[in-house]
Amino acid sequence: MILRVSRYRPGVDAEPVFQEYEVPDRADWAILDALNHVKDAVDGTLSFRWSCRMGICGSCGMNVNGEPKLTCGTFLTDYTGPVTVEPLRGFPVIRDLVVDIDPFLANLSKVSPWLIREGEEPDSEYAQTPEQLEAYKQYSMCINCMLCYSACPVYVLDPDFLGPAAIALAQRYNLDSRDMGDRFDVLSAEEGVWGCTFVGECTSACPKHVDPAEAIQRYKLTAALRSVLPFTRRRP
């Protein structure tokens, strides 16, 4: 099996170039295993991110044959011909397959992705019913792998767009019965939910079956209602 890997070496390459590596076509190898084989046995200068190898950490997201994928969960047997591996689109490339994730982290921090509470801390844990858990559980499965950003043409064309994962995670807390925060100003801005044109590819790309497109459309409805009824608090 031939791997066509995008290489970018700052100070050496003016722009990314492809380099081909031949790797064993093993049925149990994911793309990440093949990249690690190259790194260990063929070319130690190849750079890429990875960690858990089981779809939890979200580190190994790359474009495989043009599609954003977690390389630990995408297998060589899924492809017949040469496999092209490129860095995630929409992010500056630091080196080879390693992208600069600072723009994503900056967007993520804007939505305050944590439980916001007011008043005194309770003496015991915050209890929730199964229904209250179900309201936000889907969005809590996000692993920040950024595949949705790479799949989103709006974000690739306009990096000011808050992006699918950040908005889905904002909804993860908005819909949490324990949260008392208000993220309206950030989410209802032009570069917030209204930047989304509903291509829907973020949902298709998500390896954890989160539905960012749904999160965004739902908040558009919320934001529209709050704009009409500005006196309405998030959780009356």
Partner: protein, 122 residues
């Protein structure tokens, strides 16, 4: 020193899903045309100029545009209604109403309004 690729002006040709999305957006032009056509029709009806309007509307170019507009607006409406469940999450005593029921409700409303308009016109 990071590398940022130049803007891809043909991004919508890179994936089928992007192309379908752009086509869906372009159908908005025909939706806008349909609105203009209806306003012209109402204006003609109010001004007693319906015969002149029908004569103009029977012209080959207007007919061709309206046939195209019909296809485009149906495509736009169907894709819009299919996406409605994404924005509308309804829970009844903890049970989430399935998407097909929300879409079905929208299609039923569309059908009912169409039948009503047909009845008024006939």
């Amino acid at each position: 020193m990071t590398y940022s690729p130049p803007r891809d002006r043909l991004w919508f040709l890179r994936r089928r899903a992007y192309l379908v999305f752009v086509l869906r957006e372009l159908t908005s032009l025909f939706v806008a045309w349909s609105v203009v056509y209806l306003i012209l029709l109402l204006d003609a009806a109010a001004g007693g100029a319906l015969p002149a309007f029908w004569a103009w509307a029977a012209g080959p170019w207007v007919l061709a545009v309206n046939v195209l507009a019909l296809g485009a607006t149906v495509f736009h409406s169907v894709t819009f209604l299919n996406l409605a469940p994404k924005a509308t999450v309804i829970r009844l005593d903890g049970w989430r109403v399935p998407g097909f029921m929300i879409s079905g409700g929208n299609y039923s409303a569309w059908l009912a309004v169409s039948v009503l308009i047909l009845w008024v016109l006939s």
